[in-house]
Symmetry: C2
Subunit: 225 residues, 2 copies
Amino acid sequence: MNTQSIRLTVDAAVFGYEEGHISALLIRRKYEPFKGQWALPGGFVLNDESLEDAVERELHEETGIKINYLEQLYSYGNLNRDPRGRVVSIAYFGLVRPDTFKLIASTDAQEVAWFGIHALPSLAFDHKEILTMAIDRLKAKITYQPIGFELLDKKFPFSDLEKLYSTVLGRDIDRRNFRKKFLGLKVLDELDEKISKGSGRPANLFQFNQKRYFQLIKEGIVFEI
Amino acid sequence: MNTQSIRLTVDAAVFGYEEGHISALLIRRKYEPFKGQWALPGGFVLNDESLEDAVERELHEETGIKINYLEQLYSYGNLNRDPRGRVVSIAYFGLVRPDTFKLIASTDAQEVAWFGIHALPSLAFDHKEILTMAIDRLKAKITYQPIGFELLDKKFPFSDLEKLYSTVLGRDIDRRNFRKKFLGLKVLDELDEKISKGSGRPANLFQFNQKRYFQLIKEGIVFEI
DNA sequence: TTCATTATGTGTATTATTTACACAAAAATA
DNA sequence: TATTTTTGTGTAAATAATACACATAATGAA
């Protein structure tokens, strides 16, 4: 019965946000197959590590990043998705603040870089499909879970939050209504700090209050933008 | 590099609906480990079959069922989830009309049965966790995708639909508002047929119009109950 | 046959939510 | 000090969600 010879990998679709652009973290493969092509960070799962550990390890090895938001995305098992044979991949979805890490290509990666999601290179394996699914997940999830804060500084002006949402959702947002709605969720603390970038009126800084968010969830209140 | 010895299984959390009750399809294991215990149908993926094929094959082998709604649920990779060693399982979520199949236990199953989701036996492996996640998926998904029709007869009185929703969601539903809302979605065809079960006014039969549903989705109209 | 019972089918008024929309305030810059 | 830029704020109108009751068409019992 035990002639199974399927190998298992993990791949990570990691997104970052900066100045009105969502980027995906990609590596250029050092080895065959698809040597020299861009791909998602990832690799074979070791026998004695959990799937999450595997993703985090591969991400750190290949890109230098340590991620703090990671969730499972989907598993890909098409028969011919990998020229080396039968390889099933469990893909993860991650978020990170790009400015908090210096990218360092190593092990299987000969290069690492952020690519705007509207300017992606062609990708190895079925990674295009994975990335597309991850982008859909980001768009959908940001409306019903407070994952956007993983992409912003800890303290941020309200306009950053608004710009993030309009970037991810790909449409304009009514500034007044958005603010009203978000503040109505009661998960933001307004700080006694102001920030002034260039011209214009200085903005108040806000901070996501996770404790309060969990409390509201427990009370059955739903987060929805 | 290739000392990987992880094996891959698929498991299926399949639900059926009858007379105000949601049931899950379980098998009693014929072999070790967990011999004699109830578990989700499933088993090892063969080298030359896709993940979906594997689930459908295992389901048919062990229970006699051929499923028509199946989607991936989640992948489970905890180090100690299987006493045989490192086994990662990709779980699927399925829906079926219980009355359209006769259950036939075979291969790894010594018995097959439907269990009401509020009267589940203890389960092998981490199948309790998988089933819990699947129930959550069912509850969530029925509100934003028309999967409920997979559980009803092709032609059904409106009261069946209403009862299904109140069963799955676990709360009362206002009959008039529910009907108004659902008919407003324009995905039901009202037939020129009536059905009379026992006493009471005979009900008109309805039918889900999938073509129309896809058309509305394409137009960007959202299904939401 | 008629009276009681059971389930279906329907509309409106009230409340809550969403949307559309414009100008003053605080700073930088010319 | 006048202009430009960005932040901060309220209200009215439209839409959606909720609460709620009685007539209709059948069965079954008296």
